[in-house]
């Protein structure tokens, strides 16, 4: 039973990260109906920029660990938001009216470009995060030792998701985002500047993805330029699992996927860990083609 809770806790921490990345996918998909394949690479960029900023500023000793990391996180979110806006402008906006397939290829091209850009700037080898930034102590809960880092990561993810949810549900801009997600044409007729909505989505999604990259660095201490692909794919799986375009769905999907994967790795086989996520995805889509929280929509009749 201890083993179970231990794995459950591990799964929740990773799941929180999946969920954060999934939010970016789900928001972009909700409004643009486009799989932003480059989103995973924005996550990688977040991890690398986080390392650079941490190393350059050495903030931790000065201001205390948590505040230092918080500052870095905010800076990363700002930088990634800017990169996201540029990405939209360069690779997606010119293709708004084009067939879906060309936009998918453009997204794949952007992904290859960003991934190789990171490799050229930082090198192909694994980079190591300083591990003494956050306290390495563990909290004992139900006879299970949970490292504080994991608790912080999970808490931060949930907090960010809650803020985003409130933002989308309660503010005027959030309403505009939801309206554009339902019907862009109708939203435009109601006086919503759809291009601005898309820009905002491309500011928020990458910012969250970038922070998730920083979290992975803090959690595992090791980053690589290809990691965005795996995390990105898992996160997209999580978004579909919960019902794509749906913010609570992305959260539920991410946490669920993290837990299933951790338990599967522990009880079935670690070698098949990455395959488990996809098996779950296929199984769920066969039973519920719109995902767990997705609404059943009739398609063009």
């Amino acid at each position: 039973m201890e083993e179970f809770f231990q794995q459950f806790a591990n799964g929740l921490a990773v799941g929180g990260i999946y969920a954060l990345i999934a939010l970016g996918y789900t928001m972009v998909y909700g409004v643009l109906k486009l799989i932003n394949f480059a989103h995973g690479d924005l996550f990688t960029i977040g991890a690398y920029l986080g390392l650079t900023v941490l190393a350059a500023l050495g903030l931790t000793e000065f201001y205390g660990a948590v505040i230092g990391v918080l500052l870095v996180a905010i800076m990363i979110m700002g930088m990634l938001a800017a990169i996201g806006a540029v990405l939209d402008r360069a690779a997606y906006r010119p293709l708004r009216e084009s067939p879906r397939l060309s936009a998918v290829v453009s997204a794949l091209g952007a992904s290859i470009f960003l991934q190789n850009l990171v490799m050229l700037v930082y090198g192909a080898r694994f980079q190591v995060y300083p591990l003494d930034i956050l306290p390495s102590t563990a909290v004992s809960l139900f006879q299970v030792d949970i490292p504080v880092v994991k608790i912080i990561v999970l808490a931060a993810s949930i907090l960010l998701m809650a803020v985003l949810y409130l933002f989308v549900q309660r503010t005027r801009i959030g309403t505009a985002i939801r309206a554009a997600a339902i019907d862009q044409g109708a939203a435009r007729l109601m006086g919503i500047d759809v291009n601005r909505v898309i820009l905002i989505v491309f500011l928020i999604g990458p910012a969250l993805g970038g922070v998730a990259g920083l979290m992975v660095g803090l959690l595992y201490g090791q980053i690589n330029f290809t990691m965005g692909w795996t995390y990105g794919l898992k996160a997209f799986t999580a978004a579909i699992l919960g019902g794509i375009g749906n913010i609570p769905g992305a959260m539920v999907g991410g946490l669920l996927l993290g837990v299933i994967e951790a338990l599967g790795a522990a009880y079935i086989s670690i070698a098949w860990k990455d395959a488990i996520a996809f098996c779950v995805l296929i199984a769920i889509l066969i039973v519920r083609p719109t995902g767990l929280l997705g609404e059943r929509v009739a398609e063009k009749i």
């Binding site: 060309s102 470009f113 070698a271 395959a275 398609e299």
Partner: protein, 318 residues
């Protein structure tokens, strides 16, 4: 028009056939890679270009064909070319079984599920499933193909094998495209509900095209395995699927000349920029974005079929 196409095709084939003696082995190998990607692209084009089904896991079928041939060849010593129908059948059956529950999924869902299937197959190969795939090391000592007692070894000899296969593929797929089946697929892509309404059994057609495309990729897998004599899971990664997918959209989905040009570009661009070493994939990614922006429908788009209604004299158009 028909005759002109046939003459062009034969001329093109004749020029290509005389080309290898003037090239060094390196560039012949590049041509071989272009040929292999072109056949793979054409097989995927049936699924993506004609039927409009997003498939980003085509490397899985390529892998099944390659591994089927490799395993049977190395354990039982069956001559590799005899295994062509077996590889095709294995990949086609696998595709039919896998596609059955997922083929009705909406575009992007299908896309991500096929990525998932591709990854599951790759992970299964790495994990040495059933103890026959050789794990991460793969399978060694696959025999060379032999035709009429002549063993094919050098890139020059492979050139003729691969491009002959490509020629056969082009001719067959050209007729398929213009057949009842091909037209039904295009109809399915344009409007599924209407296709179903006009009596096309869409689910069966989707399964059939998935299986056919996969079977073809399986045969290319066999050629690939016997050319390399070693196969390993990394040759069948997601990026292979991405390349196949990209070359179709880049060249022009649904168009045979487009796919051929796409294959030449996808294999060619990184080769041309080889001097840039590490930066070439950067250029490649950027080129994909730029090409899509300037040629949204691909470089040589599929020509729409035009039907004209004869106007009878005296009758006015509504």
């Amino acid at each position: 028009m028909k005759n002109r196409n046939a003459i062009l095709f034969i001329l093109f084939a004749a020029v290509l056939a005389t080309l290898p003696p003037f090239l060094n082995a390196y560039w012949v190998d590049v041509l071989n890679a272009i040929g292999i990607y072109a056949i793979l692209g054409l097989s995927l084009n049936l699924i993506v270009g004609h039927a409009g089904l997003f498939n980003l896991g085509h490397a899985a079928f390529f892998a099944i064909g390659a591994y089927t041939a490799a395993i049977l060849n190395t354990t039982f010593g069956i001559p590799i070319l005899w295994l062509l129908p077996v590889s095709a059948l294995a990949a086609g059956l696998f595709a039919a079984v896998v596609a059955r529950p997922i083929v009705h999924l909406r575009g992007d869902y299908l896309c991500i599920v096929t990525i998932g299937v591709g990854e599951i197959v790759r992970i299964a190969l790495v994990n040495d499933v059933f103890g026959i795939t050789g794990g991460a090391n793969g399978i060694f000592d696959i025999s060379r193909p032999s035709v009429f007692g002549l063993t094919i070894r050098t890139p020059y000899e492979f050139f003729y094998l691969i491009w002959f296969f490509l020629g056969v593929t082009i001719v067959l797929f050209h007729f398929l495209e213009n057949s009842r089946f091909g037209r039904a697929l295009n109809y399915l892509r344009e409007d599924e509900v209407a296709a179903e309404g006009s009596g096309i059994p869409t689910a069966r057609y989707k399964l059939a095209v998935f299986a056919l495309g996969a079977a073809w990729a399986g045969m290319v897998g066999l050629i690939f395995a016997s050319k390399m004599t070693i196969i390993a899971p990394e040759s069948f990664s997601f990026w292979e699927s991405v390349l196949m997918f990209t070359l179709i959209i880049l060249g022009g989905a649904g168009s045979i000349p487009g796919v051929l040009l796409g294959a030449a570009l996808i294999v060619g661009i990184p080769e041309i920029f080889r001097d840039l070493a590490n930066a070439r994939m950067l250029v490649f990614g950027a080129a994909m974005v730029v090409m899509m922006i300037f040629r949204t429908e691909g470089i040589i788009p599929q020509r729409p079929r035009v039907y004209r209604l004869e106007e009878t004299p005296g009758e006015e158009r509504p």
